[in-house]
Symmetry: C2
Subunit: 597 residues, 2 copies
Amino acid sequence: MDEKLYYLTDKIDNDIKNDSLTEEEKNALCEEIKKLLPSGSIALAQINPVSGDVRGNALKALKWIDWANRLELAAVAFPEMYLVGYPIGDFIDRFPVIVEENIEWLKALALKTAETKVLIGFVEFNESKKGKKYYNSVAVLSNGRIEKIIRKTLLPNYAEFNDYRHFEPSAVDSSNRIVEIGSKRAGIIVCEDGWNDFDFFEKNLYSVDPVETVVNEEHPDYLINCSSSITRAKKEQLKHNMLSFAAKKYSTPIVYVNQVGSGECMSFEGASRVYDKNGNLLYMAKSYEEQFFIVNISEKTGKVYPLPKGLEKTLTEQKAFSLDHEPDLERTYLTIVQSIRDYFKKTGFKRAVLGLSGGLDSTVSAVLLADALGAENVFGLSMPSKITSAESKNDAKELAQNLGINFSEIPIKDMFDVTREKFDFTFGEIEKKWNCRYKESFTNDNIQARSRALILWGVANEFQACLPIATSDKSELYMGYATINGDMSGGFAPLADVSKTKLFALARWLNKNRHQKNAIPESIIAKRPGAELAINPKTGKPLLAEEALMPYEFLDEVIWRVENLQQTISDMMTEEFLYEKHMKEQNDPVSREQKFE
Amino acid sequence: MDEKLYYLTDKIDNDIKNDSLTEEEKNALCEEIKKLLPSGSIALAQINPVSGDVRGNALKALKWIDWANRLELAAVAFPEMYLVGYPIGDFIDRFPVIVEENIEWLKALALKTAETKVLIGFVEFNESKKGKKYYNSVAVLSNGRIEKIIRKTLLPNYAEFNDYRHFEPSAVDSSNRIVEIGSKRAGIIVCEDGWNDFDFFEKNLYSVDPVETVVNEEHPDYLINCSSSITRAKKEQLKHNMLSFAAKKYSTPIVYVNQVGSGECMSFEGASRVYDKNGNLLYMAKSYEEQFFIVNISEKTGKVYPLPKGLEKTLTEQKAFSLDHEPDLERTYLTIVQSIRDYFKKTGFKRAVLGLSGGLDSTVSAVLLADALGAENVFGLSMPSKITSAESKNDAKELAQNLGINFSEIPIKDMFDVTREKFDFTFGEIEKKWNCRYKESFTNDNIQARSRALILWGVANEFQACLPIATSDKSELYMGYATINGDMSGGFAPLADVSKTKLFALARWLNKNRHQKNAIPESIIAKRPGAELAINPKTGKPLLAEEALMPYEFLDEVIWRVENLQQTISDMMTEEFLYEKHMKEQNDPVSREQKFE
């Protein structure tokens, strides 16, 4: 469709967010847009719900429905379980009132509908004696009433998903899944219902494929999949291949509407889309933004907003480990920033306080927080101990200045000293009874990290709507190379799923691609990581993380193999690691020995 | 059966645990026992597995199988999923090697079987293209081979249970569920398979009842249910009623073998049993102990070990809130002690350190720890601040002396002062930028709890196999009336599911029923709870918890209504609470006002 349409619908997005248009302006905009719309056009409501805030979600939906009505669209489709928010977890078991509320609001929304069909995800009570308490359903609303209800068949119950805990699976019931939209018959699919093609997957979780059943039994003109489908490294290609495959296989266009936003430890990237009957991508909405996205399956070309860079990796490549994180960095950045922003907003927090050590973890955390919350809402505290180098202190300060976040330096030597003294006395007392004291201990090292967390939690207690940040990264969390009640402690952990090698790549990417170039001092990226909690007796310098652990390139491959290939130690012993290969290629046994030392 | 039998089989339990018998003694014991055994006798292996320790579980099972073989029993039945341990959670997804290992060990165990049938729970791979990766299965082993495999049909996926995440449900397949044991035909049921009677329950989670199917299609002489069924307040009566109901309804005896022990946040109480065809309880094994329990369904009378006191509440009574915790105290005590003991043992810890404030939470925690780990493995630290009363210090010391646990006093005034000073400076700095500082703050109060946790975690770092204990109770956790990185922080939280009113009752029960009477100083139980972190400006004395919150009798009913009736605030507003009723009954509006003040 005409590019101009999307310039105009951006104004709708803005109005939905800011109530920016008067009634007159709305009418004028409608007239202008309607001229560009072929009949049968539908809107994909790529929207960001708040889990549990049924009233808020419903009032928000109302604005979208109002615009769809004004434009006299054939339909507007919302994501799966939009009214209660997906995921909702055990809340609907503990507070069934949420479900009652979503039924009331569903009825209220129905009253606001006209000719335009509204497809909207909600939670339905299962009234029968047998089975689980709820269905995961999509309602079709029009002309002031609930026209029909479609129930999800396939209930994912792996990884982040626990649908089967709460919902009763429904038979496919093909004829009920058909909705007349304009002059076409659309078949409605609910998220996972579209993820079980027997030809596409090597192994299938379920014995039914609702897509196959609906297409073969009802021959719809196209399919609409109402989804809440999370983002994950390299999942985008899988999704694209799968949707394209099914559209082509059944020679049936597929409209896919996805949630956007983050909540309950999940992130949704939006990127709603349409595939034509040949499996070609015809439309794609924005990523990581709400969008009132108008599409038309009868068109030959549509608007394709670009995906964040690097989602083009093929499925096959998932199986190989790579230290080239480049392809996933933009997605990673956008996902974490969205997660921070939505977590704070949806839970009522506004400000973040974190320790700035001059190391990579706290540095990248600070950048992400500044971008998510606004620099003025971030407070970085440099809390040097006697081991902290002057360089680290300067790096922290420079970073804060570059980012424009608040900054202060609070030395903790006195806290350390008084605690250390306390420990000496306490441990002496205990040693009289327990003859099992460690000779070389990291106990004192931990005092520093725990004293810092004490200050951060104090700040969070003392200032309104403020959360302390846990800065540990994934590689160190895997190894336990982090301190309980220290850097592991906080209200949000932005790097908990970012490995160290990826973190380095992300830091360089941020310096190159953020609006503000080179905000991260090069010296922070250049230095080898260390917690600056202890001195290495061999070198007389602060102990480096890789001296305590192993090279990060090696560690991150171990983690990757555990997570992706479910390998055990003995599996790994027989395989060559990238790190080993690189060392071999260098053909320099001496340097290799040194690195491992 | 003869009482003497159980005196003799106690020796088997002892031999299994301690290898206490020589080959000669074993043979002599066997001869003696065999004289007492009617034909068709079977052993219920009420056993305590370690989740994930397949080799350990298998080697342990071997001892039980060996005894069953020696006694030439008709069968020995182990609990559900015994070989990998139940629950196993996502471990089998992340480390399928656990499942491979359990298949190897299953084959190895089969080689050790003779005429005696061995029924043993394990995890089976699902080799087909469709469905989840595993089955939750019971293998029947005999004469050196795997005779057959029975797969679980109903997969619980609510509350603590997540079976459906990992397992493919199986059709009931009645004929496959029949096993010839001696001269009888037994129908095998796997745990939840026995929990879906359409007449017994008002609402059913599943549309199939495997008990009904097996009985109607195969008419077995009796049923054996291999279970891993957790203990829960008042669940015992439900279990008893349900098993008795089914036995009577189908005029078919039911043998129920249950796991014992704790792990992965679940506790199993054992109490394996047999109901005759009239629904009468014929046998019941010990609770909270491993037992090689021999039963015979053809007997008229059997050994019934008593259940821990108070499990006799009826189902109906679950629906009313009561402040009479008495009926559940013995079960609560045994469950927590077993949970502490098994958690420490199964994760490799041995010692516990906790703060002793002289308050009820830390007091009851110390008693439970002493009973679970041995007094010599518990270290109580009194860590008074300037607010701590002399009485509290004395109470803590007296308690430690009574229990015989290690004790030391470490004043924290200096830690508090240095941190307080640090806070003043830090908050001043931040206030220049953020104009959102709280006027009246609990920030300083939290310093004390966090300084104490700093010491406890230091001790845990410094001494081998030592865990710090989080002492918060359920009522305070619900209210957030506890300190993050303070009393909420630890390696184990024994009271996390014990409400305050129950805690008072438990303290009195402990003083009356433990081997050591009145170990808890009466002054600790008599005083009203308070954290001694802050002074109440109105009274000039340390702020009491009920002054900051509400009366505990009231709070605990709120929690109960949320958990058991899923009530909302508006639901509760219209209902009369026990506390209100009591106040009314006192007919004394003045005292009521005072209590609420």
